[in-house]
Amino acid sequence: MTDSLNSFLAKNERQAFRMAQMAIGNRDDALDIVQDAMIKLVQKYSSRPPSEWGPLFHRIVQRQITDWYRSNSVKQRLFSLVLPNDKSANASLDDIEAPLGKRPDKLLQNDQAIETLQAALQHLPLRQRQAFLLRCWQGLDTAETAKAMSCSTGSVKTHYHRALTALRSKLEGTWP
């Protein structure tokens, strides 16, 4: 049980962190959210079948994000997202540690594209962003997304369509 939980969390933790970070723009708070979500999943739902862990974990993460929104001021919400490694913005290409098989200049290009994408995502209403990331990135189907967001499948479709339309409008022509 612990091994399968460990594998599940190891597989999903980075995506969950990124989703939280994109939603709230604060690395430390995003890490706290992911940690709390992991603990809640393990304590409350570890006895459930592993096939249910994904939707449950996402649901907990999304709720934590929404709670964060509710408990933080407007000032904290209006953030400028800093990419995970703050030093990378000012570092020369030689200083950037490249993952295997990836050129630093390509990485920087990707970082800029990601930053543009994250800024566009940040401008979406929370529910639209949640629906979009869960559907498009996590690969959940409409029913699973609805479960994770605790809403109807119709709402998911509406949020997703609006998110997609808004992103196309914001990114078209300026984003690869």
Partner: protein, 116 residues
Amino acid sequence: MKNNQNEFETNIRLQLNESLDSIDKATQSRLNNARNKALSAANKSQFNIMNWFVPLISTAAVALLLIAILPTNFQHDIDLNLATSDEFIMVSEMEDIVLYDDIEFYQWLESVDNNS
């Protein structure tokens, strides 16, 4: 139109996946620590369940023994008491916490939707 939409979604998915590779070592280390903390909480939780499980079984065994040795004319009353006790244990130990969490979750979500 549909193909364009699929390509657009695919590009976004690829970019987001790329963003996972750029997570720095310090953040990855904190994620690992968070995972370990969560898993150790699970072990601790299992340990606590065992702490409750042994006395519970012992109590049940003693209760059964008492039923077996007590006169039959008291049997009916004792069975009723045990049934009540079992129901109480079931209600207090099983899904109530999860159920409560769900109810609270939906109430909370409804209030958020109403406010938006």
